[in-house]
Symmetry: C2
Subunit: 212 residues, 2 copies
DNA sequence: TAGATTGTTAATCGATTAACAATC
DNA sequence: TAGATTGTTAATCGATTAACAATC
């Protein structure tokens, strides 16, 4: 039912942060980097960073560190960010717009090829350069465009219906920003972002540290 | 340095999803709920849900299930969502606007008391009912308003400076949506949301399932 | 040489899963 | 009674952490 164990989840979640920092460091002409430096930046222990890098298969030089560009490419390849992924975003509200504006996604191999919304005010306008189309034209378009990823930013009531439509068009992977757990067949994968999950963790930290 | 272990992190991340679903079920007058039903909805094993509920201290009835309203209150109390938290959001771009529009946050005990931005076009307008103020007025206002949480939605280049200012005003907890790891003193907690972390996981699922 | 770092193996810790009696 | 469910203890699995030799 779209729930498939991914090993090393915590490590995978850390990868983009390494990646982003490493790109900044490379731009600053720092050609070698140690786990000590990255760990300090991220508030981790160096051994964690070392073990994470081991997963990507990259090799460092004892006493020296890792070559920045080798690390970047190792992480990119490990995450599959060297492959181009066509994404179709549905729901161009504030959150959808925010995602459309993230320049970094193209660095991560994801390209917005289609954007749909139901609001007549938005249809045929451009958001961050992306043309917003009428969601009623979605099915015929997607059968041609064949996106790899569906990004769900519609209100909760519409989420499941939109996903069902997209699955019918052959979409097999979803990034779900809605409040609901989507019900999908076993050959379809879903990554759900739970914004309230972060708030829950922050709330626990507030408690633990007697901030509130 | 603002990095403090929180136990049961995976369970805590699942709590808001239980919570949200339970509220919907209560509105549908489903007064009793079993872990089987919730697990199926979320794509988990029932034992996981049972263990999670155990953390909150709630008790179910063998053979029957849990009382919906008891579960809701148990989770709310466990997460500290019964305490009111004043939040100050800085950076009213698309992402900031999306957060300001999340009605659910008040259910979770978080109230937006202040919103700041640097863009003259936005200053003195209202976004989802919240007045946007000039970020240059932030310090004097915060010394009075004393928010519990700072929500960072500003561009990366400004994030650290904004946080430093807020810490000087006594803010000790941050929800960081910027691309950077904020450097903060040990008595300050940070919860960082890494949107690209979700994409990394989705990318790995694509790989594993030969979708791309 | 001394200090910093990686690579690797082993130890520990915590989260998930299994098993099953007790209850409705 | 049979079936569904919780509560609880134990087993397993995976992630983090420790330790230390090897390298620069």
């Amino acid at each position: 039912m779209g729930r498939h164990k991914v090993l090393n989840t915590p490590a995978i979640r850390r990868m983009p942060t390494y990646f982003h920092k490493l790109v900044l460091m490379q731009q600053a002409h720092e050609e070698v980097v140690s786990t000590t430096v990255l760990a300090k930046y991220m508030g981790l222990e160096p051994i964690i960073v070392r073990k994470d890098f081991e997963l990507t298969g990259v090799k460092g030089q004892p006493g020296i560190g890792y070559k920045t560009h080798e690390l970047i490419e190792a992480i990119r390849s490990y995450l599959g960010w060297d492959a181009c992924k066509k994404a179709c975003l549905v729901g161009a509200g504030s959150l959808g717009s925010a995602l459309l504006g993230y320049q970094e996604f193209s660095e991560y191999g994801m390209l917005f090829t289609d954007v749909f919304d139901a609001d007549p005010e938005k249809i045929d306008t451009r958001i961050h350069g992306h043309l917003v189309r009428d969601v009623r034209q979605m099915t015929p378009r997607l059968r041609q465009a064949r996106p790899d990823i569906g990004i769900i930013c519609v209100p909760a009531i519409h989420a499941q219906a939109v996903v069902d439509d997209m699955i019918a068009c052959g979409v097999r992977a979803f990034w779900n920003f809605s409040n609901l757990c989507l019900q999908v067949p076993p050959n379809v994968v879903v990554q759900r972002e739970v914004i309230a999950g972060g708030l829950a963790l922050l709330s626990m930290k507030l408690k633990t540290h007697d901030i509130i």
